[in-house]
C-alpha cells in the first residue's frame, strides 16, 4: 500500500542500491509530504539506513533517482540536514560540544571561511533548543549517550534546514531524552519542517509519526500512519520473524486508536 503525497518534498523513483552486486534496496518508489514527522520502520538489514544514505548521496545508486524539492541534491544541499547514527563517530575526539554544533554551519560558510559571531549565536540557539546550553565547553567524550544524541540534533538544527533525515535518533538514549527529542521533532514539523526518522521501536510508532514508511529491502508501505500501520502490513514487513508481532497487533487494536475504536463500537451499538 503506497500512497503518493501531493506536492512532495521528496520523490524517490525506482531506487535500487546494492553492495557488492547484492541488492540492499530494491525498486523503491515513493513520495513524501511536507511538514510531517515521518518514520521509517523495518527489520534489521531492511535497508533503512541505506535509504537515508542514498538520499544524501553517501552510497551510489545502482538505478533510479532521488529528487528533493523537485531538484537534485546538489542544488538544494543547504535546505537538507542529516543526523548520522551516533555510533558512526569517535566520541573520544578532542572536540567540545560547541565545536561539533558549529560544524552545522560549515556548509553555509563555504571554503576557507571561519565561523563568525552570527554562526555561534545560531549554534547556541540550537543548543538551547535541545537543552544542552550548559555544556558548550564540555568535551564530547564526557557526555552520556542521550547528551551525545542531543548534540548531534543541535548540529542538524544549526543548519537551519527544511528537511531533516535522522538515522536512529532514539537508539541508546534514556527515556527523558527520547521525550525531549520527540517534543522537539513535533515542534519542528509544526513549523513546517519535514523530519524523516529511522525508527526501531514499533510500540511508539503510532504515537510519534504522521506518516510511516515500511521497508524490507523493497518498499512494503508508505502512507499516513493510521492507514498503513496495521497488522497485515507489519506481517508483510517483518515476515513473521517478529515473535512479538501478534502482541504489537494486539496493542494497536486495544490501545493505539482508542477514540476511533470506541466511536465505532458506539455506532455499532446504536445501529443495533
Amino acid at each position: 500500500m503506497i500512497e503518493q503525497a501531493k506536492d512532495p518534498v521528496l520523490e524517490i523513483h525506482d531506487l535500487t542500491v546494492s553492495y557488492d552486486r547484492k541488492p540492499v534496496l530494491w525498486d523503491v518508489d515513493l513520495t513524501l509530504p511536507a511538514g510531517q514527522l515521518i518514520g521509517i520502520v523495518g527489520p534489521n538489514g531492511a535497508g533503512k539506513s541505506t535509504l537515508i544514505k542514498s538520499i544524501m548521496g553517501l552510497t551510489p545508486n545502482s538505478s533510479g533517482y532521488v529528487k528533493l524539492f523537485d531538484k537534485n541534491l546538489k542544488d538544494v544541499r543547504g535546505k537538507i540536514s542529516y543526523v548520522p547514527q551516533k555510533e558512526s563517530v569517535d566520541w573520544d575526539f578532542p572536540a567540545s560540544v560547541l565545536d561539533v554544533v558549529l560544524m552545522g554551519r560549515y556548509g553555509k560558510l563555504g571554503l576557507f571561511k571561519r565561523p563568525r559571531k552570527a554562526d555561534k549565536d545560531v549554534a547556541m540557539d540550537a543548543l538551547r533548543k535541545v537543552g544542552m546550553e550548559a555544556y558548550i565547553n564540555r568535551q564530547i567524550s564526557q557526555l552520556s549517550g542521550g547528551q551525545q544524541q542531543r548534540v548531534f540534533l543541535a548540529r542538524a538544527l544549526a543548519q537551519q534546514a527544511d528537511l531533516y533525515f535522522m538515522d536512529e535518533p532514539f537508539a541508546g538514549v534514556d527515556a527523558a531524552t527520547e521525550k525531549a527529542i520527540i517534543t522537539l521533532l513535533r515542534e519542528m514539523s509544526a513549523r513546517g519542517n519535514t523530519v524523516v526518522v529511522v525508527h526501531h521501536d514499533l510500540q511508539s510508532v503510532t504515537q510519534y509519526f504522521d506518516w510511516v514508511i515500511m521497508l524490507n529491502m523493497r518498499l512494503i508501505a508508505s502512507g499516513p500512519t493510521e492507514k498503513v500501520f496495521n497488522t497485515e502490513l507489519l506481517q508483510e514487513t517483518y515476515g513473521g520473524k517478529l515473535t512479538l508481532l501478534s502482541d504489537v497487533g494486539e496493542l494497536i487494536r486495544r490501545e493505539r486508536f482508542p477514540s476511533r475504536e470506541q466511536k465505532r463500537k458506539k455506532e455499532l451499538k446504536q445501529k443495533k
Binding site: R77, Y82, P84, S88, P94, M103, R155
Partner: protein, 292 residues
Amino acid sequence: MNALQIIIAGSLVAISCGLLGCFLILRKMAMVGDAISHAVLPGIVIAFMLTGSRDSVTMLLGAGVIGVLTTFLIEFFHTKGKLQTDASIGVTFTWLFAIGVILISVFAGKVDLDQECVLYGEIAYVPLDLWITDTGTIMGPRVIYISASVLVILLLFIGFGYKELFLTTFDPAYASAIGISTITWHYLLMGAVSLTTVASFEAVGAILVVALLIAPPATAYLLVDDFKKMLILTSVLGVIVSVCGYYLAAWLDGSIAGAMAAVSGFFFGVAFIYNRLMVKKSSKVKPSKTAI
C-alpha cells in the same frame, strides 16, 4: 652555533610532522603515515637520479606523487581486493620501500645518497650542508630552508583548510552530506604528509620520521581535550624533543635522530602514566550525577 642550527632544523621537522600526525592519529591512519614515509624512498631515489641534486623541487614533487600513489594503492587493495586495511598497508609500503633500497644499492656508486643517510638521517651534518647562491653568498644550512618552507606551506594548508580538515576527520559521512568532499581533503592531507616526510628524511631518516609523526601527537592527545590545544602542544613538544634529543645525543655521543625519537617516546610514556593516574584519581571521586 652548530648546536643551534641542528636544534632549529630538528624543531622545524618535528613541528611539521607533529601537526600532520595530529590529523593522522585521529583519522586512525597513523600507520598510513608510516607507510608513506617509507614508500617515498623510491621516489626520492628516482628523482635524485633524474635531477642529480638533493634540493630540487622536482624531487619533492616526485616523492609527493609516490606518496599519494601509496595511499591510493592502499585504498585500492582495501576496497577492490577486500584486503584488511593493515594487510593492505603492509603489502604496499614494504614493496615500494624495497624497490627504493634496491635502487640505492644498485646505483650507490653513481648517486650521492647512501642507505645510512636515507634510513637513519644525518641531522649532525646540517651545519655542513650549506646553501650557497650562484654569486657565492653563503645563506646557511640548506635543510633549515627546506624544512622552514615546508612548515610554512603546512601552516597555510592547515590554517585555510582547518574547518574542512577538522570535520572530515571527525565525521566524514556528515561532511559529505553537507557537500564537503572527503576524498579531496583525504588526498590533500596525504600529499602534505608525503611532502613533509620527503623534506624530513634527510634530517631524521625515513624510519625515525614516523616517531615524530606519531609520538608527539599521541602524547598531546593524552594530555588535552581540545583539538587546537592538541596542535599547539604537539608543536611545543616538537621543539622540546629536538632540544632534549640534541643534548642527550651530545652527552652520549650517539645518534641525534635516534636520541630525538627516544626522547619523544619517553615523553609519551610520562604522559601515559600521568593520564592513568588522573583517571584513577577521578574514578575515586564519586561519579557526579550525569544530567540527561
